[in-house]
Amino acid sequence: MDSLEAGRPFEFSDETRQRAREIIAKYPAGRERSALLPLLHLVQAEQGRVTPAGVAFCAEQLGLTKAEVGAVATFYTMYKRRPTGEYLVSVCTNTLCDMMGGGEVYRRLSADLGVGHDETTDDGLITLEHAECLAACDYAPVVTVNYEFYDNQSAESASDLIASLRAGQRPVPTRGAGLCTLKEMALQLAGLTDDRDGAVAAVAQGPQTLRGTLLAEEHGIAAPSYDADAPIPAAPAKEGPK
């Protein structure tokens, strides 16, 4: 396993350096350190993981020590320390998804791919991980590929999804935009706009999200009405100074 110390020299591109400057400029003067999480995503966009060179790059950009950057990089799950594949497949195995079939999905994918948690297939295509709650419990069990959602999975459907990826296809997620590579996704995570046509407008949800809203509409139920033009009342004058 690679460690943060065992990297080889690597030069980040001028484009990455320019992007780093733009990211840092989003934060208040003197508070540049706030850009550290985006910058760690940015170095992953070039290298697919956070390497010692990536740590050194962030440190140099922000005037921090490598130890300070390393301490942050090792804290967060989305910063990968081992090489990653083109696709990161995350299976929710938190309680609800696990009991609705997520555990079975994970075991099936692990068997299909021949890899375990945080491991990548030999061809460098797919990294598998089990994930904690992905905030989609009404769609349980869920799988994400490069963080795009595939809802209501079963061991069979997830196995088919993996087979499609291996066949060079990119199945359309249930919610969110079409798939891109993990490195391309890291650019979005760094704060760069996803300018692919239709990415923002891509399908928002399955039926679960709208159930309450549509049920109310279907039965003509509405919240109480109001007068939007009524001004905000002036608060009673405060007591004067002592």
Partner: protein, 438 residues
Amino acid sequence: MTAPSPAALAALTPVLTKRWSTPDAWNIDGYERLEGYLALRKALKANPDDVIALVKDSGLRGRGGAGFPTGMKWAFIPQNDGKPHYLVVNADEGEPGTCKDLPAMMNDPHALIEGVVITCYAIRANRAFIYIRGEAVHAARRVQAAIDQAYAKGYLGRDILGSGFDLEVVLHRGAGAYICGEETALLDSLEGFRGQPRLRPPFPATHGLYACPTVVNNVGTISSVPHIVLGGAAWWKQMGTEKSSGPIIYSLSGRIVNPGQYECGMGTTLRTLLELAGGMVPGHNLKFWTPGGSSTPLLTADHLDLPLDFDSVAAAGSILGTTAVQVFSDQDDVVYATYKWLEFYHHESCGKCTPCREGNYWMVKIYERILSGKGTVEDLDTLLDTCDNVLGRSFCALGDGATSPVTSSLQYFKQDYVDYIEGRTPPRLHADELVGAH
């Protein structure tokens, strides 16, 4: 499926979810067509203090889990102190069971942005950050688009709508750490550090982001603000209960026919919610459920008629939390469920304080032993003793929350543990089946 009764349907109060069914409401034209940014125009005509007073009067309580009165939080921000003020929106949704903020940001992102502008105007902040969970890329895309559109239309930036009020908003993505949903850990993370909670006091209201006065509010809280500004405090209080006013999104998941998001007046019961959601999946009988995520003590079929508002749930020994209602049946194993939750807390414990770091580590081990058929009755005492040393002794609420499923499952379902220990339930775990073990 039989239709829900009129009484159950009457519990529905679509306010925050009202626009969700309009396909282009996420786009600024669609949003403006549906009363979008009217509340901002109205708020900018009022004195900022009057906006704070309005939110106070509405009785709005934070939707992130703690239920702190929002207007009171805003009023804690010192004024004329010469320091910059900040609003930080907590969009780091990740409490197991919780899935209300991502759909809100997907379908109605401008409601969040409009709420941000109004809130910043009220607390006199000229910079806001929206800290969104890293994995939520689909929602982040929509929120970023909404921010860009709002700038283009003059709802953000300099001299907003000619009011003289300036506001810059930055969307900031996390990197995978549940603890960053804790407000002080979130602030440390936003400052570029490991996400570990801070000692309080001082509170964020005086020493928050960059040691300046800061309001940290959940997505649901901020998205409620434009509605309150438009409808008024009295209107908001027509929904919900006296001390838990307004509508709230209940997120239903698990063994039910139609899981999903149901916005109802606060104080709606599980019985009503189940009726709206088509009932339990055939063949499944309700056994245990969380009222508001895994950090809230489990409830049982005896609590079907408990009003799900802050005070009623607290009186029943649990917490309303994030109204993440996870429903489990008699075919689900409560011991295994609790084990999986503890694995989560163990993985997500930031390691700063000993009770949470060590307590969760050892409790996971005890559960593995029990589930492997090697537990002892003493293990149950050890679990409770460990919880005693974690609850109230941890640095933040993550440790407290971890004890919730343990103590409540032992309270209601001790026999299920004993059945593993005495061999009536066959062992469930073997070393090669420890999915999620670290």
